[in-house]
Amino acid sequence: MAIDCLVLGAGQEVGKSCVVVTINGKRIMFDCGMHMAYNDHRQYPDFSRISKSCDFNNAIDCIVITHFHLDHIGALPYFTEICGYNGPIYMTYPTRALAPIMLEDYRKVLVDRRGEVEQFTSDHIAECMKKVIAVDLKQTVQVDKDLQIRAYYAGHVLGAAMFYAKVGDSAMVYTGDYNMTPDRHLGAARIDRLQLDLLITDFDFHGICLVFQFTFCKCYNSEIEYRNSLFIDYAAAVSDTVDYIIVSYLISLPCPEMEALAFGLRSTYATTVRDSKYAREREFLKAAASSVLHTAVASILSFVVIIVVHKCVAGGGKVLIPAFALGRAQELCILLDDYWERMNLRVPIYFSAVHNFDRSLIDAPGPCVLFATPGMLTGGFSLEVFKHWAPSEMNLITLPGYCLAGTIGNKLMSGNPTIELEGTKIDVRCQIHQLAFSPHTDGKGIMDLVKFLSPQHVILVHGEKPKMATLKERIQSELGIKCCDPANNESVCIPSTHYVKAGASDAFIRSCLNPNFQFLKSGSEEKSVSGSKCTEGTLPLWIKDERVAEGILVLEKSEKAKVVHQDELLLMLGEKRHEVQFAYCCPVNVDELEKFTTTSLTPTARMLRDPNKSSLIRLLVAKLSRKLSEGNIQDFGEHLQVESFHLSVCLKDTCPYRITNGLEDKPRTAFFCCTWSAADDKLARKIISAMENRDLVET
């Protein structure tokens, strides 16, 4: 049994996530993303590797989409409408609601702005969406008789989910992007402790938000406004950005981190009418924040940003904060606002999407703070403002934690003093601060998740090779879990769990649940360490209750394999048990015994002249408990017992089990009749050796 894992995208790179996994004959495609940096065939995963004949309906059982970012969903309409995949597609409700908006936004970017040939039409998107089956978090969905999937909350962005898939006994999780530390916007990823053969985790989660490039496109307003009336009484707020849809959706859908508040929030926000949509959003996020414990680290990082921003405006500079991933900008905005209030600052903060930030304000004198999209300065309003503000040393530009190669943001991060833009050179003199917090998981987050899930194997995707190599090393050395980071179009095969199924009888199950106490004197180790110090009374007793399941597997022709208790087997066979036992009548020199015990038992030892059964047994117990490290010696007065080993004083003149000759005549010899079952032969022989004082010879 094995799991085959074909990486079609995001193998040792960031962009176009797409992994096709075959578990026990079922084939699942996880994510179907596009690469934003390419314009040619490289922007889509190489689907021909799935099926040479391009018969995708037979080649793939289902597609699972983790979240609505284009690098995870961008190729979906192409795959379904152009390549002709007609099977089921699973995603969460929020993703299902947001995906068409994202895809349409992207399509318009390509066609309207870049003037490129569209790869899919609006109809394609609509048709594609018809094939989607929305799932709830934690809902176990039976795709077919054998294939089971389940979504878990992943944080990151609204609707983001990790997906669990199980076929037969083999199970795996594909994470998509997630975050392990909660922020004020969304909670940390949540997943059950599952038995997994494979965990495919994204390494470097940088959602590509090019879609926001044209959120200012006026032509969108009507549509977005329309969509914004979704769910709740939110239409009054005319929103310019897709973010607002997200926010309104956030209010309307449960976010596990806010479970306690969710209900209250829903009603509050559904019915309270406020003047400013900004105020409304702010209040919502504030309320959310109170329920989410912000991690100390994140607070400090945010604080650093605020201080830097404050410093700049105090010096009369302007601050440009290109807004990046959903939620982050809002978060920073709240923090800034709180700070402003506390410090009684009057410098205006503009959120370009909310306030109609007039272009004339760009060159207005005096300090200000402006949030503008897109985050990586790839165009649009933030780039426009950047052109104006960059040449002044007084100004500050904060950059998101990650900028795609080739973007202005990326060039700035690499310390480029002059940027060429549409033929004009811009002399960048302003201060540049890189935001340290990013909605993507960090090395620690991945380690935490891997440790928590403890899968048999880990596959890292969606990250740059050198960075992933370090983590791969750590996962293997620190956690002892096999890990690999295949490149695009590489296939990895890992072994998977398989159980043999059998029926188990009640008697067997009951016998497994029986307590199996073992009383271990810590003797063996203790003796060697502290030698004579340990007297009998102070030896701690270890009690072990390791229940062992022992039974018999019966395979009858044309019947299901069955596990039974051994007693049941005999019933099945109609046979009676035939015990094989050992017996031995063991001679022991009483003097020896006495000598051995006189130190502790002086007065009673004298009684041996008239041998009394129980005192003999007592002497023997005393001797054996010193010599034996294992077994629990039980003294029953008339006899003693160790496991199945049974011993009693033999007073018969001729005992059939008295094998050794000639000892009868020796004076002061006592006989002990011993019986034991074959299972305890080893132990019994040890006891007998000890009794006959042969132990030294034996060892």
Binding site: Y93, A97, P100, A134, D136, K138, Q139, T140, Q142, Y226, R227, N228, S229, F231, I232, D233, A235, S252, P254, R266, S267, A270, T271, H498, Y499, V500, K501, G503, A504, S505, D506, I509, R547, V548, A549, G551, I552, L553, V554, L555, E556, K562, V563, Q566, L569, K576, R577, H578, E579, V580, Q581, Y584, C585, P656, Y657, I659, N661, S677, D681, R685
Partner: protein
């Protein structure tokens, strides 16, 4: 293991509260309570149980039902407080209907299960808000299809029943089979997610508890469901044909047209809120009818929780039917009331004495308010006001005894319209549905024995149950499913038993009971003595064979049969002289080997094993 299933319903004289539940008892002591109400309404009695000292059972409710149920409970308490404020407490312990005389009737064993060993008295009096909060905090909420694991041995899942928002059927599965509990289910709902029958298909046992009284007198025409129709997909389609939903829509339309007639004549309409889903649909329909007849009559919703309820119901696409989910995806509100409230066609007020309502009040009007019993809440005031107006209309659901309900308001000249909405499957659909679900055993309500005959059913057996009665059901499966790790399986040493044509092998590991499954995993320390020797023997050794086997191993001895012991008449003894003196004593059920040298002893055992069967 046997399942003990008790099923009963509490009903109160006024049907104010009813709580339906099943107790399932497994493994003697593991106890479970499942909340199985037909709708969120079904949980209103829960605080009575949970506030008991020593109440320890686990409660599972769907998330949506828990939320709506909580709102309903809060409203009920609010109304009761108001009632007492106006009319005083009749008795110190609360009104008559709050007495739980019926719980006293519970079989004592089940009372113990629910309330612990003390079985202390159920306290009288109405629960307060704190009790409701406490009750909700003890509940584990689930989404549809979410797996909840009880104590490692059972998996509990809820699947939509289609009756109301959050209403569900339950599946409880363990290693020994699964039980499906079917409450009132509806094939095509205009609001809640459709009845998920596929999830229930193939259950071992179906506890059928769809006790809707609707159409109980209807003749059952089975001709359309002939037995030779084996294609259940087709059968399902015929069952879930949209007749029902069309019928339901027609009923709604009828109520609406009656309401329009009334307001046109200058009367007002009072619609007590009962089931949430019906209420929301009715709200939408009436608004459409008003629009069509271009009437400008205000619609009031007077309820302390309506605002929250309306907001909440519009944010739960996961719990709603396909058509409403589509609205989400195309950007429309899930329910039309959002728009209607904004357009000021619907007005929501918390209480009948809200200042804003008083300022806004216009008659004629249409009012939705609690409580459908007509004994609590704003309905009392409004009924008093309108009962004399023959143009006004009161809309009641069929399950309320209308005669009794309006009794305090007599003489009444107001029109009373009673309607019945589907609260479950129609009787004639029961049998075909069960055939589709393919269970092994069906538990069917005794009171329906005469209505639904299973005499021609061969695919499953049927038992009948009555309320407040316990039935024992034998184990559904003979053996529990055990999953054996491949590591263990690869080390099997098979032994063929010729005469029985059996292959057997010894099995050892650690048993894990996890997530409803039994798994046998390798031992932690596989060290120990690798016990390759059999320990279980059977058969009767024969002296000649034994001697032959012994001599093969270089052991020589002689057989002595002269045993004097009476008990061992068919026994014999082998005295071994070579290589060393030893003795083998063979009796019917035991062989005793006596040898001083352990190597010799183990060789003798080997010889014994060769002539005995063993594992």
């Amino acid at each position: 293991m046997s399942y003990l299933i008790a099923h009963w319903t509490f009903r109160h004289s006024q049907s104010f509260l009813h709580c339906q539940m099943i107790f399932i008892k497994l493994y003697a002591r593991k106890i479970l309570i499942l909340k199985t109400g037909r709708s969120p309404m079904g949980m209103l009695g829960l605080p009575f149980l949970t506030r008991m000292e020593g109440f320890s059972a686990k409660i599972y409710i769907t998330e949506a039902a828990a939320r709506i149920g909580q709102l309903m409970m809060e409203e009920l308490i609010c109304m009761n407080m108001e009632y007492r404020q106006f009319y005083g407490a009749e008795e110190s312990s609360g009104p008559q209907w709050m007495k739980w005389e019926e719980l006293e009737l519970l079989p004592s064993a089940l009372r113990k299960i629910a309330l612990g060993e003390d079985g202390s008295e159920l306290g009288g009096g109405c629960p307060c808000i704190a009790h409701v909060k406490d009750c909700i905090s003890k509940v584990q909420t689930l989404r549809f299809g979410e797996e909840a694991c009880y104590n490692g041995i059972l998996i509990i899942k809820a699947f939509s029943s289609g009756l109301d928002i959050g209403a569900c059927n339950w599946i409880i599965s363990g290693a020994k089979g699964n039980i499906a509990y079917i409450s009132g289910s509806n094939f095509a709902s205009g609001h809640a997610m459709d009845f998920d029958y596929r999830a229930i298909q193939g259950s071992d046992l179906i506890l059928y508890s769809d006790l809707s009284s609707l159409d109980s007198t209807e003749d059952i025409d089975q001709s359309s469901f002939s037995d030779d129709n084996n294609n259940w997909e087709e059968l399902m389609n015929s069952l879930s044909n949209y007749d029902e939903s069309v019928e339901e829509m027609e009923k709604l339309a009828f109520i609406c047209s009656c309401a329009i007639d009334s307001v046109k004549a200058g009367g007002s309409v009072l619609i007590p809120i009962n089931r949430v889903g019906v209420f929301l649909q009715l709200l939408e329909q009436i608004a459409i009818f008003m629009e069509c007849s271009s009437l400008k009559i205000p619609i009031y919703i007077i309820s302390s929780v309506a605002e929250e309820l309306l907001a909440y119901t519009n944010t739960i696409p996961e719990w709603l039917c396909k058509q409403r989910q589509e609205k989400l995806f195309s950007g429309d509100p899930l329910f039309a009331h959002v728009k209607l409230i904004k357009e000021k066609k619907i007005h929501v007020f918390p209480a009948v004495h809200s200042p804003k309502l008083l300022m806004n009040w216009q008659e004629p009007c249409i009012v939705f308010s609690p409580h459908w019993s007509l004994r609590l809440g704003p309905t009392i005031h409004l009924l008093r006001r309108w009962s004399g107006d023959h143009n006004s209309l009161l809309v009641l659901e069929n399950e309320v005894d209308a005669e009794l309900a309006v009794l305090p308001f007599k003489p009444i000249s107001m029109k009373v319209l009673q309607c019945s909405f589907l609260s479950g499957k129609k009787l004639q659909k029961v049998q075909p549905l069960l055939k589709i679900l393919q269970p092994k055993l069906v538990l069917f309500p005794e009171e329906w024995r005469t209505h639904v005959s299973f005499s021609d059913v061969t695919s499953f057996s049927v038992s009948h149950y009555s309320e407040n009665e316990t039935i024992h059901i034998p184990s559904l499966k003979e053996s529990a499913e055990l999953e054996i790790a491949a590591d263990i399986a690869s080390k099997f040493q098979w032994r063929m038993l010729k005469q029985k044509k059996l292959n057997i092998t010894r099995l050892k590991g650690r048993l894990f009971v996890n997530h409803g499954k039994h798994q046998l995993l390798p031992e932690n320390e596989p060290g120990g003595s690798s016990q390759t020797r059999p320990f279980l023997h059977w058969g009767s050794p024969d002296p000649e064979n034994l001697l032959a086997e012994l001599s093969k191993m270089g052991i020589n001895g002689s057989v002595e049969r002269c045993m004097t012991d009476a008990e061992s008449e068919d026994g014999f003894t082998v005295k071994v002289q070579d290589p060393e003196k030893s003795m083998i004593e063979v009796r019917a059920a035991v062989t005793v080997i006596s040898a001083a040298d352990k190597n010799l002893a183990s060789r003798i055992v080997k010889a014994m094993e060769n002539i005995l069967e063993g594992i």
